[in-house]
């Protein structure tokens, strides 16, 4: 048969194959069509002899090619069926679903975490200039409490002393005050009264232009500006009432201040004088200072101050100086510590073996074994961010009630959730088939409780793909203390209807 007549003769069948290929899933359509088109060519060449159109052999050959092409319908059906059921493991029990749920939990808890004001600072770069040299000074007994502890009069006494350790001091005192947000409307907001050098000490540029030096300036957070003043662009320069005082709005601060203890401020009231004389001398405030020396003192150190005549008495227990950048990394430190403790506590709460029955284990491929371990480690690793995010979310909720409780809530919740997560990872792994990682099903009670010490008594679970059985003893005995995985050999495969 010459090439031209071959091409002409086979073209009709190629159209048929092309039409059928439209029913094949797109991912394999090109390969499927190429394969059948090629085979039709060879079938036609071998089946249809170069004889007359009216010859019987010619039509027998054509019939043979047509029968071959009709077989493509069965192939299309087979391809479509396998595409509709691509995996043997039902998704509801598969390892992918487990990993997907954990990933969803990370996204959900992470989104809550990022939406909470001030929480994301743990992952952000400090906006302050040289944050390592900025320290928070607090009375030793209040160092961990996130409460203001330094009386304003003590702050002023320090300020007037000649300093070797610190180059500058600043004070801030967050208080809830009624702010007039409209002509006849006031709203309680957290207003931090700060000394004029407060923003300069932090190294944050803030608009503090003052017209009348007797009227304090007020800086609003951008969130407050939008929520309370509807983002009014003409607000700058307006004088409003803050508590029983008047203040002039001089600017908007974009980001909340990073790492400062106490409640997040909605506005900052810049006192006209460095001594903050408008504040009650005995009222307490937070004091921050910038270190004059570059010597490393660590993240926290103790400081004692001797009393002098004519100055208010200082705390005999001394003062704690805490580096500001260490306060933001504290949640992460707490998290790592509780994870370590949870790993230590894990063996006391659940058994660590995964229930393998090695004596009966057939030789499985290295990849299959690694896949199982990778799944276990993936579960543990995916659990850790959930632990961090959820514990921080809970701590934040607790801090609204009492700032002191936030750390304790984080410690307790982080430890408990982490321990539970680790236990779940191991228990879930034990309840899965080591071959396909599918969750075991069809639990069946085997044996009798009265014969617990004489014969087998427990629960038997089965891999739906027929890879094996899991025997879980009802009561651990000296001869059957942990669950056992029994691999099924090839003779069982007929029961599971999976063979080709």
């Amino acid at each position: 048969m010459n090439q031209r007549s071959l091409v002409r003769g086979v073209s009709m069948y190629l159209v048929w194959i092309r039409c059928l290929s439209l029913f094949v899933p797109r991912s394999i359509r090109v390969d499927w069509h190429r394969c059948w088109a090629s085979e039709v060519w060879y079938v036609y060449r071998d089946a249809v002899p170069l004889v007359s159109f009216f010859d019987r052999e010619y039509w027998q050959g054509q019939r043979r090619v047509a029968e071959f092409c009709l077989g493509a319908i069965d192939d299309v059906r087979s391809v479509k069926e396998s595409a509709q059921h691509p995996t043997r493991v039902p998704y509801a029990r598969s390892a992918m679903r487990c990993v997907g749920l954990l990933a969803f939990a990370i996204v959900a808890s992470g989104a809550c975490f990022l939406l909470l004001p001030g929480e994301r600072t743990a992952f952000e770069r400090s906006p302050y200039q040289d944050p390592a040299s900025i320290v928070l000074i607090a009375r030793e007994a209040y160092a961990e409490s996130a409460r203001p502890s330094i009386p304003v009069e003590q702050y002023n006494a320090w300020r007037h002393r000649s300093q070797q350790l610190f180059s500058a001091f600043a004070l801030y005192q967050p208080v809830i005050r009624q702010i007039s947000v409209g002509e006849w409307r006031t709203h309680p907001l957290v207003v931090a009264s700060v000394t004029p050098n407060f923003f300069a000490l932090l190294g944050v540029s803030a608009a503090t232009a003052q017209g009348d030096t007797h009227i304090p300036s007020l800086l609003l957070s951008s969130a407050t500006w939008r929520s309370e003043f509807d983002g009014d662009p003409d607000l700058i320069g307006r004088t409003i009432r803050v508590g029983n005082r008047e203040a002039r709005i001089t600017g908007i601060v974009d980001a909340p201040l990073w790492g400062l203890p106490g409640r997040a401020a909605d506005a900052w009231l810049i006192e006209p004088d460095a001594g903050a004389s408008a504040l009650a001398p005995t009222s307490t405030a937070f004091v921050i200072a910038r270190r004059a020396t570059t010597d490393s003192f660590g993240s926290r150190w103790h400081m004692s101050i001797e009393d002098r005549p004519g100055e208010p008495a200082f705390d005999s227990n001394g003062y704690a100086c805490i580096a500001l950048d260490s306060t933001t990394s504290r949640p992460l430190t707490i998290f790592l510590m509780t994870v370590f403790l949870a790993f230590l506590a894990l063996p006391a709460t659940t058994s660590l073996p995964l229930g393998e029955y090695r004596i009966n284990a057939p030789q499985r491929s290295f990849r299959s074994r690694m896949r199982r371990w990778a799944f276990l480690y993936a579960k543990i690793l995916l659990t850790l961010p959930i632990v961090f995010f959820v514990s921080r979310d809970l701590a934040h909720l607790a801090s609204a009630a009492h700032p002191l409780h936030a750390q304790y809530i984080q410690i307790v919740s982080s430890f408990c959730i982490c321990l539970y997560g680790l236990r779940w990872s191991l228990r879930d792994q034990r309840a899965r088939c080591p071959v396909c990682l599918c969750k075991l099903s069809h639990p069946a009670r085997v044996g009798e409780a009265s014969r617990n010490f004489l014969a087998w008594n427990g629960t038997e679970l089965m891999c739906a793909d027929g890879h094996g059985l899991l025997h879980v003893p009802e009561l651990p005995t000296c001869w059957f203390s942990t669950q056992r995985w029994i691999y099924l050999d090839a003779s069982w495969s007929g029961l599971f209807a999976k063979s080709t």
Binding site: Q3, R34, C35, W36, A37, S38, E39, W41, Y42, V43, R45, D46, E67, F68, C69, L70, G71, A72, I73, D74, D75, S78, V79, S82, D489, A490, S493, G494, K498, S499, T500
Partner: protein, 105 residues
């Protein structure tokens, strides 16, 4: 699929045909007498289960001979183990293909 899994008689026949050197779908059809609607889906399933692997002939070789390239199949190591087990299960399979005795020797 593991090498120790059971093969149906049809699958074993196709595997045996490939094993003895009938590497193309059409030649497997001719050798086994099975219709195309059986052979090609089975080839796809055997490939999915890792018993055979397929490869396209180089385009240059086919162009020289003025014909389309063909897809040929080969047994994998698992396929070779499977056919040994299948021949024990279906002893007559060795007689169905002329070259079987030579291959198994």
């Amino acid at each position: 699929m593991a090498a120790d899994a059971k093969l149906s008689h049809t699958a074993a026949m196709i595997l045996q045909a490939i094993h003895i050197g009938y590497l193309y779908g059409f030649s497997v059809m001719e050798q086994t007498g099975l219709p195309s609607g059986t052979v090609y889906p089975a080839l796809r399933r055997l490939e999915r289960d890792g018993l055979i692997r397929s490869e396209w002939e180089k385009q240059g070789i086919a162009d020289e001979e003025q014909r389309p390239p063909r897809k040929y199949h080969k047994l994998t190591r698992a396929g070779e183990q499977a056919i040994v087990a299948a021949l024990k299960r279906y002893p007559l399979l060795a007689k169905l293909t002329p070259a079987s005795e030579e291959q198994l020797a």
